[in-house]
């Protein structure tokens, strides 16, 4: 089995990895690059805990062979977390207790990021729709929707850009 070399942009830096053919982006991130914010809840595309942004769009890294993202821009939760402090979405999750065990949180935050980039003032219904692929077994979702609403208020209220697209 010959390994293959794949290059892509990860959180603003160029990375080059040597992988077995059709290794998932999830596995490369977690096992090779140490980007473990991207979680592994099902590897079936069913839980959303491995959500990353590919060219700004949320995708499931467990279903993506890393070869498919060659030359593309991948952003994980590490990529939106400032060196000091928190992104406004993270602050809102923290303040609203939009998490309990924390396992679904990275996926939730990444979908929230993509949603607010597309639609800065989403309705609660639009938020619920956006996170419908992200399963949380602890919170019951309301605090998560509250957090995304709060983040939307802050980001659009202050005219702050969330970057990305």
């Amino acid at each position: 089995m010959a390994s293959v070399i794949v290059n892509f942009e990860l959180c603003g830096r160029d990375v080059e990895v040597l992988v077995q053919p059709m290794t998932t982006l999830q596995s490369v991130l977690r096992s090779q690059l140490g980007y473990t914010a991207t979680k592994e809840g099902c590897r079936q595309g069913g839980c959303g805990s491995c959500t990353v942004l590919v060219d700004g769009e949320p995708m499931l890294s467990c279903l993506l062979p890393v070869e498919d993202v060659a030359g593309r821009r991948v952003v994980t939760l590490e990529g939106i977390t400032p060196i000091d402090g928190l992104h406004p979405i993270q602050e809102a999750f923290l303040e609203s207790n939009g998490f309990q065990c924390g396992y679904c949180t990275p996926g939730m935050v990444m979908v929230a990021k993509a949603l607010l980039d597309h639609d800065p003032r989403p309705s609660r219904e639009a938020i619920a729709g956006a996170i419908s692929g992200n399963l949380c077994r602890c919170t019951g979702y309301q605090p998560i929707i509250d957090a995304i609403e709060k983040a939307a208020d802050r980001l659009s209220g202050s005219g702050e850009q969330t970057g990305g697209r």
Partner: protein
Amino acid sequence: MPQALNVVGRSVVRSDGVGHVTGRTRFAGDLVFPGMLHLKMVRSPVHHARIRGVDLGEAERVPGFVRALTWRDVPHNVYTILSLIGVEPEEEFVLAQERVRYKGEPIVAVIAETEAAALEAVAKVRLDLEELPAVFDVEEALRPGAPVVTDWGNNTFMFEGHPSRRVRLGNVEAGFARSDYIVEAVYNSSPIEQAPTETTGCVAVPEANGRYTVYTNTQALYFSLDNTAIILQIPGKRLHFVGGTVGGGFGGKVDVIVEPIATLAAMKTGRPVRYVFSRSEEMQVSSTRSAWRIYMKDGVTRDGHILARKVTSYADSGAYSRQTPYALTKHAANVAGPYAIPNVSIDAYCVYTNRTPASAMRGFGVTMGSFAVEVQMDRIAERVGVDPWTIRFINAYHNGDLRPHRKIAEDATLIETMQAAAAFVGHQLSDEQKAMTSAPRASLEGVR
């Protein structure tokens, strides 16, 4: 001088919150060690079978295959999780020996260089199984001639010499005879999977000093350490368990399933070994809340006093008992409900079937009992012709009442809780109900 409260009554930011929202929290399955191997399990494809043979030949030829573990490799292959608190007999096999008793029961552990190689090798292990009749219903399992799941000839767990956990107070037959109404019903529930977002898993790492560090997402760190030591027949001091970060558990991660075999694999290979359930394993083989069947018969007077309650409950423990005997004990202590009933008879059975072993889940034992009790109370109210609030005020226990398991109630709050609930939902209580308290009764006359 009392200090001002600075936590109680306030919202505080959780200490693990920043780690969670940044994804920096390290869960057990996030850890990667140089040279780490991957363990995957060969599982029974059927509910009940005799194992005639296991052929590893083809699996061993998969590139990346390192070794396999069978029951012969496990120093003490039979155990009971609750043996640490004196529950017996030891009955669960770490790896199946001559029989498999539920679909998904582990038979052979395969260790390989990569997860992909481990999965491929698992697929290439050939099992020679003689399928046996299986039983999936608690009452069918107790009938003569039913398929026997255990090694001791029947499907019953024994509680100190009795086939059920028993509670007796007064004389229920006499109570029924004095009653105006008899209200009887049966309550059934299905198993429930806790389905945490993070699946059960651990990484076992051999250390230079001869110890093994086990990073695990168990909810029961020391239960896991002690049972691992027993199964591996090594002193507990050779094990260092690191835990406390759990990606959802709800009771589903209190069983000791992955740690012993991952540690054994690390011992046999001298390398770190990762054993993390796939989602389908989490759904199929991690233990569930048990299925229940609860028969309840109450004798009630015309004015709504319950004189006698007889309960026969069956918890479906699945193929092994795990924490279900404990659930039955809690169940038996609580299934009369928070009500003062002078004549009570409870028999709660822990029954073995060929289903996935059941275990802990949020209030297990009590939850289904409470469901049955409260639906039953509504039925009694309907029969007596009073509203559901009234039947509960009439029968609520007070401090000082004797509960069926011989404990004097000293924490009664049902009356006050109902008064608060009524205020929240705008339900108008009678003056008498508003004036009631859980304070001890003036005389025990009310409790016939």
